[in-house]
């Protein structure tokens, strides 16, 4: 046990070291181009912790990605490269807004109902590619990627022809009624009660994955389908359950994002929190408990970059650059642990071994 902890710590230290080096490699040349290089570093690294408000910004930015990260984690754990999380997030937000605009709900049930409908509708984007894979063996990666855009354009059509407020200056929905909002938690930020839901969801997700029978069975199906079939586990059912659960969580994240932050629904492109969630899941090594720090870390980079952009003559795209560099370093390691990838290697090795034994 202690050996496992030690190995985990070493791995963590290595990851931290790599991330630190990558940040420096991107930031130092940039800082040197500025009149006060140390100020750039200070603002980026320490700035986000400067005030309570900025820390609130970190939590605010981490709220959707924690949930999409959890959704992607559950889906990946079942051994599927289903990228429908992004589409689910978008659909969830749209469906929650539609509920608020179209249904005459008031009072305490209004917000939960909108979130529930958002989750249900949003889950479609994960369920459809998952089903096509389980039923027909179609590549879930390609299908989910393509369907994300199909859902986006169907959603924009719906927004334009059903939800659109003709009196608003741009393509956006009618105002969401006041009963359909999440409470703000911190003055000066847009931090809302959704962050609590996100934390709780990740903790529950971790408990489910590591502490329950069905979590164990999903891990077995995801890591070694052969062993699952040896045990007689209902692999297709477990796979579908994971896609449904992931889709529901991602849809819920979209609903919470819209109800928590906006007074009107105005997404006409994919918001990108699903993609970030996939990044978070890979960074967290597909561990729901680690999704929390991973999402917070990416949010911290985001806030640091925003501060650079606001206070100095530094483009905010630099954050994208830093995140990309970090992801490259971290995923290079993580991808080599991914069950689907490992299975591919094992198949190739198995063939070679078979040849050796053949004669």
């Amino acid at each position: 046990m202690t050996r496992a902890i030690l190995a985990g710590l070493t791995e963590f230290a290595l990851t931290a070291l790599v991330i630190g080096l990558v940040i420096l490699a991107v930031l130092v040349p940039l800082a040197l181009s500025q009149p006060d290089p140390l100020e750039v570093l200070r603002l980026f690294v320490l700035g986000p912790f400067g005030t309570i408000r900025h820390m609130g910004n970190i939590l605010e930015a981490a709220t959707p990605t924690m949930m999409t990260g959890l959704a992607a984690t559950i889906i990946f754990r079942a051994g599927m490269f289903n990228l429908g999380v992004e589409g689910s997030f978008f659909l969830g937000g749209l469906a929650a807004a539609a509920t608020a605009v179209l249904l005459p709900l008031t009072g305490l049930i209004a917000t939960p109902a909108a979130i529930l409908i958002g989750a249900l509708v949003g889950s479609l984007a994960c369920i459809v590619p998952g089903y096509l894979r389980v039923r027909f063996g179609a590549s879930e990666m390609v299908n989910s990627l393509v369907l994300n855009f199909a859902f986006l354009f169907a959603g924009v059509y719906f927004l334009n022809y059903v939800l659109r407020d003709p009196n608003a200056g741009a393509l956006m929905s009618y105002k969401l009624p006041g009963d359909f909002t999440l409470d703000r938690l911190l003055q000066g930020t847009r931090l809302h009660t959704g962050v609590i839901i996100a934390f709780v969801a990740c903790l529950l997700g971790g408990i489910w994955l590591y502490g329950t029978r069905s979590g164990l069975n999903v891990r077995i199906v995801g890591w070694s389908p052969g062993f699952a079939s040896h045990l007689g586990l209902a692999s297709s059912k477990l796979l579908m359950q994971a896609q449904i659960a992931g889709g529901l969580i991602a849809g819920m994240a979209g609903a919470i994002e819209v109800l928590g932050l906006y007074s009107r629904f105005s997404w006409t492109g994919l918001p990108g929190h699903g993609w970030t969630g996939i990044t978070v899941a890979i960074l967290a090594r597909e561990n729901p408990f680690l999704v929390i720090p991973a999402a917070l870390f990416l949010a911290y980079l985001q806030v640091g970059g925003d501060m650079l952009a606001r206070n100095l003559d530094v483009p905010s795209e630099i954050v994208g650059l830093v995140t990309a560099a970090i992801m490259l370093a971290v995923t290079a390691a993580a991808i080599f642990r991914h069950p689907a990838f490992l299975r591919l290697i094992r198949d190739i090795k198995g063939k070679e071994a078979g040849e050796e034994q053949g004669a």
Partner: protein, 508 residues
């Protein structure tokens, strides 16, 4: 062209860095223009020898002579330079490329930087005509039958001025008429001056095709002899080795009730390993039935229908009187199946999960380990610690990953899981392959114990000593059929099993 042998092995040995001795002092000649067979059991060293000749491995000692001159085989493009082509048992064709593209792969005719497709097409057509191997040069490889794909492999091997063609178990994937067709083509090639090296463990095929045979056993050349001068018994004895007596299992009861019954069970499958024909057998409680047979004789099909992985095309299966013909894996496990899979890395457990998770996998609904949907971690740890102690698994703790264990210890843990809760039927498929001696002894003890506790045991193993040590009765599979049903008396030896395994005799 020079006279004398085309290839001579002189004291060739191969020891791998991990200490495995694959070949010891192999010395024999291959006559120019002959069909030369190499015979031996799995692991006898056939593959290593061919890899050395094909330039994939270099010998640790000894020399390979080609046309009488010593050569260094481990040089780039050695095989191409000396005109050696090889058809591997597992095809190495790219499925989405056409026949032509596969054949020219690696030595494409070029015009500037582009592939000269017309020339390639002409070359391939000319090749198919010259060797009378008809395949459509423009067909996509994955649309072809297995036999046609093999033709492509042979054409590919012949495409570079080949003088020596090596075929590794070429008949394993073919049906009898296809085999006949292949043999005719090979005879034609031989008549045209080609030297053919034919690797097989099917004696009648060797006899049908080859003039000379070299027998390998445990990395040593047992002998090289013209087939006309030896009878099958002698070759069998050469392949199987001398008779060594092993201690037998002492069975407690011989009148125990029948637990497993198969009536005329057949499967339909392309792969011969999955194909069984008209199998009838019954196993009593406290009886270990051993299955002998060359790899791919239908063992996988038999295990498949007995574990719910495959459904029989006809026939019926009963376990303890209950019809299990159509049962799936959950049904079989529910009914009391314990199964030690041959491919234990992919099917016996999950490498990346902890010992505890692996040990309790499949115990869904066990109230002692579960509280509602939640796992009782404390109870699980105690249970798994007990299993680890009972099976002498050498492990740091229940939280370690399965792949931190050695092969023998991992198999002991798998056995501990499968044998928990007295099974009715135990399938042990290669239970001790690649396992150290101490672990093998423990596993043998546990299999015996499971039988004494009332399980019917089906033991499938390539290790004939293990088979004779454990089995009460030996069934020999050949081409998916039971060709012999022998009581395991002290006189039964590996050499006595040989003729049945090689398809020369039946005694069902």
């Amino acid at each position: 062209m020079a006279e004398g042998p085309i290839v001579s092995f002189r004291g060739v040995s191969k020891t791998y860095p991990n200490g495995t001795v694959a070949l010891t002092d192999a010395t024999f000649d291959i006559r120019r223009g002959s069909i030369h067979a190499i015979c031996g059991e799995n692991g006898a060293g056939k593959s290593t020898l061919m890899k050395i000749l094909f330039g994939l491995e270099s010998p640790s000692a000894g020399q390979v002579l080609i046309d009488g001159a010593a050569v260094d085989t481990a040089t780039p493009d050695f095989a191409g330079k000396h005109g050696i082509g090889m058809v591997h048992q597992h095809f190495s064709l790219v499925p989405i490329l056409t026949v032509t593209e596969n054949i020219i792969l690696g030595h494409e005719p070029r015009r500037a930087i582009f592939i000269d497709r017309n020339k390639a097409h002409r070359q391939v057509v000319e090749l198919t005509q010259r060797f009378d191997l008809a395949v459509d040069p423009d067909a996509r490889t994955d649309t072809l039958s297995v036999a046609a794909q093999q033709k492509v492999e042979i054409l590919k091997a012949l495409s570079r001025d080949t003088r020596l063609l090596i075929l590794d178990e070429p008949t394993a994937v073919l049906s009898p008429p296809e085999i006949e067709e292949l043999f005719n083509r090979l005879r034609d090639l031989c008549a045209a001056g080609m030297t053919i090296l034919f690797i097989s463990h099917k004696l009648h095929e060797v006899r049908a095709l080859a003039e000379t045979v070299t027998v390998l056993r445990a990395g040593k050349v047992v002998g090289t002899t013209p087939l006309a001068e030896v009878d099958d018994t002698t070759i069998t004895r050469m392949v199987m080795g001398r008779d060594v007596d092993v201690p037998r299992r002492q069975r407690q009861r011989t009148d125990a009730p029948v637990v497993l019954e198969l009536d005329n069970v057949s499967t339909r499958a392309r792969d011969p390993a999955d194909r069984i024909e008209d199998i009838s057998l019954s196993i009593r409680a406290d009886e270990i039935v051993g299955i002998a047979g060359v790899d791919g004789s239908g063992q996988r099909g038999l295990v498949g229908v007995l574990s719910g992985l495959m459904r029989p095309a006809s026939g019926s299966i009963r376990l303890d009187g209950t019809d299990m013909t159509r049962a799936g894996t959950p049904g079989w496990r529910e009914a009391g199946l314990a199964y030690l899979p041959a491919d234990r890395h992919a099917r016996g457990g999950t490498a990346a999960l902890s010992l505890a998770d692996n040990a309790i996998a499949g115990t869904d609904g066990d109230k002692a380990l579960q509280w509602g949907p939640f796992l009782r971690r404390g109870a699980i740890r105690r249970r798994v610690q007990q299993m680890i102690a009972d099976y002498a698994v050498r492990a740091g703790g229940t939280g370690e990953r399965l792949d931190s264990l050695s092969g023998g210890n991992a198999q002991k843990l798998i056995a501990a899981r499968e044998l928990a809760g007295s099974p009715k039927l135990l399938i042990a498929d290669q239970p001790t392959r690649g396992v150290d001696v101490a672990a093998a002894a423990l596993l043998h003890g546990r299999i015996d114990l499971a039988a004494r506790d009332g399980a019917a045991v089906l033991l499938i193993t390539a290790d004939l000593d293990e088979l004779l040590r454990l089995a009460d009765r030996v069934l020999v599979l050949f081409n998916g059929k039971i060709v012999a049903d022998l009581a395991n008396h002290p006189g039964l030896t590996p050499a006595a099993l040989g003729p049945y395994m090689l398809g020369l005799e039946t005694a069902a």
